[in-house]
Symmetry: C2
Subunit: 350 residues, 2 copies
């Protein structure tokens, strides 16, 4: 293995003192980059890109070249695990994911397979290997998967939803069926993350995109519990848990054997630190809409964010994936502002 | 004026000690009731119902008859104020509101009228008078309006949105234009609420449905500030502020001259009380999906909620509008559970 030339993210996640905060952006491999759009328009759709390892690898590396971020994150889709478990979906332009069959009954859950990588997950695992080889140690590579609740919510609902009321109905009306499904998804996710790590992921992140539709009690019972199991099973590399909208669960997430906690833009640094304590690394959380502003305004807001979080045990990022119509110059201003703010400069201005 | 026979809501909002907590449901006048569906299917659409005062009055009273709730809330739509300001919208089945023209520039804002009731708002104001006469003091009548930020977000975006990124872009890129629009909407909303109060509304509620897409700083600058102005202007009746998703702003809302604060289902009673202090009345916050469960399970969850909030300075409600496909028996179980739980019973079980 080539040693890492930029290991800032890994040192930060291990809790070591660092010269500055590392920076990357959720969805940095995507439509914000002209290089990505050029590849994407040659293909039939988003899933073709996910399922073509050499192209997925290429778009994974584009933001390292173009933006100079401190980490790459493998280009894939959280829902590939549903496909691998026997519940296929299509990704429709503008409409988002759509499942031909949904998961509604105990019989549906019984038919779910446990994914093990000998399935469509192989595409992403191959892409991880290719990225790792091509990067040759320039920056670490982040692998990822969805939290089991987030996958369940799509599988039951069959598409995106404002309320995910069908999925939540299962939690209230058939909790045993939901738990059976969540157990299978959890095992599949552990297998998938371990395969990514084996193929070369240096760090993994768990995305609980629909954490924010649950009540605190439901979140604890149907989501946090399974994320905890995943964190326990992944002891090879550092783990980040990002539960969007789950401000109420930050203390519970802080009890998990993970190294970092992702934050959305609703959570102030002070609120987050109070909830999680001193030791966990925090990651986030600029409002993605802030990047619509001028590069100067972005730099100012980013510098303020760095000041509020402090430079240690902190990874600069947005509070959600970067929006596709974000101007590239503002994205660059965000990255530059983090990389030019050293702890010393920070102290001088605070 | 006929004196109120059931003034539990008003006594609670005035901070008086009461024999039990009052109960009503957001969207109680709506599709959960067969009586509502019968009227609705005779009409061309949702807006026809909003704009036909005697029918709007009829559906407002239906839940008082059918569910026995402790308050009526006028049947209308938050977006009627946009119409009155010169930005018309259609309500499309399943798709939600759709604006033919949107608000994007300073010139667009200049063209906005200040609503004063001599416009389409007259429909709702007439309906308020009719309800007040027909109720003849059985229960109090709640008037309502949206928070200015929520109306602005629809006017700029032109429809519902997962992110409201166009509306938020205006806040970051053209804050002066946004403030000009918010001032006009605030004045229109004050006029509208005063007209409702003059026509007979006993209480008013301000709905900030899209509070939850903003960062704490943006919320303070572009939403809380204008809600505060509305609360200051309305000194005739008690006011409830419900900012969905704005857990981070509870302390700021507690500083407003309002009597009650609505809570969504993410906010635990303990978190809310700590944030707002002892004096404000709290309202909420059962997860609307809890009502998909059996009447027995609903009664149990409701009793637990009453125990957690305590019986004083508390109005039982859901944490969001009741979903249209909720079984009527579970809605009734919710109302019954509140009305049968007296503080004495509560003390005995806690």
């Amino acid at each position: 293995m080539t040693p890492l030339q930029n290991d800032l993210l890994l040192r930060t996640m291990r809790g070591e003192a660092t010269e500055r905060s590392p920076v990357w952006l959720m969805r940095q491999a995507g439509r914000i980059l002209p290089q990505y759009r050029a590849i994407r328009q040659r293909l039939s759709g988003f899933k073709e890109l996910v399922e073509t390892p050499h192209l997925a690898a290429e778009v994974t590396i584009q933001p390292v070249d173009e933006l100079g971020v401190d980490a790459a994150i493998i280009f894939s889709d959280i829902l590939v695990v549903c496909d691998a478990m026997g519940l296929p979906y299509d990704m429709e332009e503008k409409r988002g994911p759509f499942f031909r069959r949904t998961l509604r009954s105990a019989a549906d859950v019984n038919r779910l397979r446990i994914a093990d990588g000998n399935d469509n997950l192989q595409h992403t695992i191959t892409a991880v290997s290719l990225v790792r080889q091509t990067l040759a140690g320039r920056v670490p590579l982040i692998g990822f998967a969805a939290a089991p609740w987030t996958l369940l919510s799509y599988m039951v609902e069959g598409s995106g939803s404002k309320t995910f009321s069908e999925a939540k109905k299962m939690l209230y009306c058939a909790p045993d069926v939901a738990h059976r499904a969540l157990e299978k998804i959890t095992q599949s996710t552990i297998n998938y993350l371990k395969a990514q790590i084996h193929a070369g992921a240096d760090v993994v992140q768990i995305f609980d995109s629909w954490a924010g539709v649950l009540s605190p009690e439901q979140y604890s019972t149907f989501s946090a519990r399974y994320i905890h199991q995943i964190c326990q099973a992944i002891d090879e590399v550092p783990v980040t848990v990002f539960a969007k909208g789950a401000f109420f669960a930050l203390s519970e997430i802080a009890e998990m054997p993970c190294q970092a906690i992702g934050l959305d833009w609703h959570t102030s640094p002070k609120f987050a630190r109070q909830a999680v304590g001193k030791y966990k690394v925090l990651q986030g959380n600029l409002d993605p809409c802030q990047l619509y502003a001028s590069p100067e305004a972005v730099a100012q807001a980013t510098t303020q964010m760095l000041r509020d979080f402090g430079s240690q045990r902190y990874i600069a990022n947005l509070g959600h994936g970067v929006y596709p119509d974000t101007p590239l110059e503002s994205v660059k201003a965000f990255v530059r502002a983090v990389q030019q703010t050293t702890p010393k400069a920070k102290l001088a201005t605070s």
